[in-house]
């Protein structure tokens, strides 16, 4: 077992290590640090929107920079690296290999992220997380914009290196006795999401370079005055980032696949259906990118094609929900912290999906597009589903990493507050969108409906913020002073702990 904190090592022994659990630990610490940084920006945004007019932020530019860096941070510096943390820790163990396939490459992929994060934070760009030209190419202030572009470029390369490593590790290094069909669903989730990364990232990588040269004035790829086309950027961008949302969600679903059966004390309802849904999802994730672009003036035929492509992605997500519910059905459920976070995440996943289906219907999208509805929609995924699954897994791996137990009561309070807060913020934002409030605004018209709903959302955000402070305390306190965990069965489930529970970590 990996008792990181019980056998203290000097910090550089971890930093310069290439061992998969050390890299996993580095990813874990870094991603959670960025979670708190990005979350602090969200609280600033919500405080500003509590009332119309200027509240805590003096000018709109600062506000614009805050939501840009907030989104960029939480997607690229929290969700993705958190998944890598879990993958690095557990994929080699699950496929029974001593390490990742390319340990040095693994360390390189990790160490690319902190400088990229520094570029993004020190630059503090304002052009939103999708950096659309011509604004991003001719108006967005440098050097912030350029630093963001370089930061994202580095993150893209790091993602691709990580993906290659996962694919090779799973396909080539798994134990010969372990057929691919029996590989646990968590490892399958890394295999499929890594395949998506390899296919999806290149188009945005190209777009970034073109954006940079446009900014330098040497090209006009996206500048109509020079024969370019700003819409081309949007296609390149969404060809990467619609599939990328599945890169985020698939590992989180994989994490829930570890937790749900264990805390239902029942095997997974259907392993093969989970695998099938992962593979299906990664294929259809490429059929829907332009559902973000209905309002750019696409033809009726184009819109129809992308609507059908979008709807086609829903059955695979629905299959996962079914698999979870069928696993829990008739099980002896034990609602300790990891289970609560997982079940809450599944409930929010379902509501988010229903909203997604609604706004892929093209006439409806002309009501919701670029309104607060969209903000509510994708946050039910990124926060409600992906962050919830990640936090569930964090609690789940806590004894494994530290050898100690977190405080269960605090974990439960953390969940309840976050769940209530998430519903208050993001369900309300759907309604705000229906009332026509645009997203990415520093101020809004003082309609009573707008004010009330913004206040509900802001209070919800503060509740989430408070619960996360409690989490931080629980993590730090329990890692050093918590009760020692019963490593065979930390939650008293009456079974064995990790899959495969006998795994000894060769490094320690």
């Amino acid at each position: 077992m990996v008792l990181e904190l019980q056998k203290p090592r000097p910090i550089w022994a971890i930093m310069f290590s290439t061992h998969h659990t050390d890299i996993g630990l580095l990813y874990l610490i870094m991603s959670i640090t960025f979670f708190f940084l990005g979350g602090a920006l969200a609280l600033g945004i919500r405080a500003e929107l509590f009332l119309p007019g200027s509240q805590v932020i003096s000018d709109s530019m600062t506000f614009n920079r805050m939501f840009t860096v907030h989104g960029t941070t939480l997607i690229f510096l929290f969700l993705l690296p958190f998944a890598s943390a879990v993958g690095n820790y557990f994929v080699p163990i699950m496929i029974r290999y001593k390490d990742m396939a390319y340990p040095k490459l693994n360390a390189v992929a990790f160490w690319m992220i902190p400088p990229a994060g520094a570029l993004i934070w020190l630059g503090f760009a304002d052009f939103t997380w999708y950096a659309t030209p011509p604004y991003s190419s001719i108006r967005a202030p440098g050097p912030a914009a350029d630093m963001w572009i370089f930061g994202l470029k580095i993150l893209g390369v790091s993602s691709v290196l990580g993906a290659i490593n996962f694919i090779v590790t799973i396909l080539k290094c798994k134990h010969p006795d372990l057929p691919l069909s029996k590989v646990p669903l968590l490892a399958w989730s890394f295999l499929t999401s890594s395949l998506i990364v390899l296919v999806a990232i290149p188009s945005f990588a190209a777009a970034l370079v073109m954006l940079l040269t446009d900014r330098l004035g040497v090209t006009g790829f996206f500048d109509p005055a020079r024969g370019g086309d700003p819409i081309a950027y949007q296609h390149l961008f969404w060809f990467t980032f619609h599939p990328e949302v599945y890169v985020l969600v698939i590992p989180a679903i994989g994490m829930m696949y570890e937790i749900i059966p264990r805390f239902s004390r029942k095997p997974i309802f259907s392993h093969s259906s989970g695998v099938f849904a992962f593979v299906l999802l990664s294929a259809v994730s490429f059929s829907s990118w332009a559902h973000h672009m209905y309002a750019t003036g696409m033809s009726f035929t184009e819109k129809t094609v992308f609507m059908v492509g979008t709807l086609a992605a829903a059955p695979a997500s629905a299959m996962h929900v079914f698999n979870f519910l069928a696993t829990m059905w008739g099980g002896r459920l034990k609602f300790t912290t990891p289970m609560m976070w997982s079940v809450g995440g599944i409930a929010l996943f379902f509501s988010a999906g229903a909203g997604g289906v609604a706004n892929s219907a093209m006439p409806f999208d002309f009501i919701t597009h670029d309104s607060y509805w969209v903000v509510g929609h994708f946050h039910l995924f990124v926060m409600g589903t992906i962050a919830f699954g990640s936090i569930a897994y964090f609690y789940y791996m806590f004894p494994y990493v530290t050898g100690r137990m977190y405080n269960e009561a605090m974990g439960k309070v953390h969940f309840i507050m976050s769940f209530v807060g998430t519903v208050m913020v993001f369900f309300t934002q759907h309604v705000l969108g229906l009332y026509g409030m645009p997203r990415r605004v520093f101020d809004y018209i003082p309609l009573p409906e707008y004010v009330v709903m913004n206040q509900i959302a802001s209070v919800g955000a503060m509740i989430i913020g408070a619960s996360m402070a409690l989490w931080l305390f629980n993590m730090i306190y329990s890692a050093s002073k918590g009760k020692e965990a019963n490593m065979d069965d930390p939650w008293g489930l009456g079974g064995k702990y990790y899959w495969p529970h006998q795994a000894k970590n060769p490094h320690h």
């Binding site: 614009n64 939103t128 819409i231 009726f300 609507m307 219907a361 309104s371 101020d443």
Partner: protein, 142 residues
């Protein structure tokens, strides 16, 4: 799909129901969109130009309005929407008009206002410093 050991028919029924629902949503959306897309031939054309951070409206006869737009109730209008500097999005939420205003392109949308009154026109695509305040007023007159 090979199923490990037990019957999987509830899942197939469930997937079937989901697909039926999706097909219904898709068909309905296709049908509505098909009907609302085409502007009537007699619609009066209004050229809409977005730039940082205001809206200009131009009619065929050369008259121009900035920051406000006066139209007649019951009369159809077709907007031809474009932008001068960066992308914007032309939005009259109360009449479900939403089209991006893109440099170098013209996008169309149409409506026939059925209630007199004042409505908000706003920008719904991030366009920089004063994006939040890029509004105009629509006056629908009897």
């Amino acid at each position: 799909m090979v199923v490990s050991g037990h019957s999987n028919w509830p899942e197939w029924i469930y997937v079937g129901v989901v697909i039926a629902l999706l097909a219904y949503v898709g068909a309905e959306a296709w049908n509505v969109e098909r009907i609302v897309e085409h502007a009537p031939a007699e619609a009066e054309v209004i050229k809409v130009i977005g730039q940082q951070w205001f809206w200009t409206f131009e009619r065929a006869d050369g008259t121009k309005e900035v920051g406000e737009l006066h139209v007649k109730k019951g009369h159809p209008y077709k907007f031809e929407i474009t932008a001068k500097d960066v992308n914007h999005a032309f939005n009259i939420h109360d009449y479900v008009i939403l089209q991006d205003a893109i440099v170098g392109r013209t996008n169309a949308a149409w409506f026939a206002p059925d209630k007199a009154g004042e409505y908000t026109i706003q920008c719904r695509e991030y366009c920089g410093l004063l994006h939040y305040n890029m509004r105009a007023t629509l006056y629908v007159e009897e």
